[in-house]
């Protein structure tokens, strides 16, 4: 669309804005291209609606400023796209990006997305238990105290405790991490169905 502009300053402004948009909207595919066409038409209409000042580059600048930074209005749609991908592929990268964009988009999904982040932190806890067992075998696992209470995870004082699982705590912690990840990621789909 820059062929419509004679002024190099306008071409520069336009290209800078839409190259940033293209970079951010790449994961959206066809939807991103449709969105770009909508925005291009909007900017042209916005320039036309401004009073003639004799400075078209300034008019374009105003139109782009009114449109807002691409990252600000793309957060919600990128969050939806990545979460939708995550629920199908179970990719941790898609999960991370989906939650990142959803949280930054704010709105009604902010609280739910934050709770999902907390849920994923549990997976890290299980992973730490599994990975630290070989190094601190006597202090990591599931322990029963003399009074019958149960302690799980990394326990400082285990001298009088009886270890319940032994080396089984590694596969069990890993299985729990995997199960939590699968359930949370499956549940993420509900997040994009709620506003």
């Amino acid at each position: 669309m820059t062929e419509l502009f004679d002024d190099p300053a306008m071409v520069k402004l336009w290209n800078a804005y839409f190259s940033e948009f293209d970079k951010l909207s790449a994961p959206l595919g066809d939807e991103g291209r449709e969105l770009r066409s909508d925005l291009e038409r909007h900017v042209m209409e916005s320039i036309g609606a401004q009073p003639a000042t004799g400075n078209p580059a300034q008019q374009l600048k105003v139109a782009l400023k009114r449109l807002g930074r691409p990252i600000d209005y793309l957060h919600p749609i990128l969050g939806e796209r990545y979460i939708s991908r995550a629920t199908h592929t179970y990719s941790p990268v898609a999960v991370g990006k989906g939650l990142f964009h959803t949280i930054l988009a704010g709105g009604g999904r902010l609280l739910a997305a934050s709770l999902f982040c907390l849920g994923y932190l549990f997976i890290a806890v299980f992973a730490v238990i599994a990975l630290s067992k070989p190094f601190w075998a006597d202090n990591v696992g599931l322990f029963r105290a003399p009074d019958g209470t149960i302690a799980a995870g990394i326990v400082a004082e285990t001298a009088e405790h009886q270890e319940v699982l032994g080396w089984w705590s590694i596969p069990i912690a890993l299985a729990l991490a995997m199960l939590t990840y699968l359930l949370l990621t499956k549940g993420l789909g509900r997040l994009i169905r709620t506003q």
Binding site: R41, H42, A49, G68, R69, P70, E80, G107
Partner: protein, 122 residues
Amino acid sequence: MARNSIEAHEETARWEVQLRKGVLEFAILLTLRGGEHYGFELVTSLTSKARINVPEGTIYPLLLRLAKDGLIKSEMRDGEGGAPRKYYTLTPRGVVLLEAMIPRWKQLSTSVEGLLAGEEND
């Protein structure tokens, strides 16, 4: 004191942006109830008549989602100056949803007004 005032102002501004974004979908459907609009006209209508001052780019991803959900539909046609424009209209499903949303909004608005009136009377 001045710092507290600036922080309160920034917090209020953030809250206001989230609030406006939250009602945007409803405002778009309400605007389209009055007839078809093309993108720029719809945005102008929302920012001037409804005074919903959000970045104009915010509207287009929402329009895409509303179309994907089958609540609105779009059609490309030549505009007055000959340049193609995308015209948006409500679908029958969008009309049904909007009719269900209006009483809910009124109920919510009345409840908040009641709370505000109570606060003023205290």
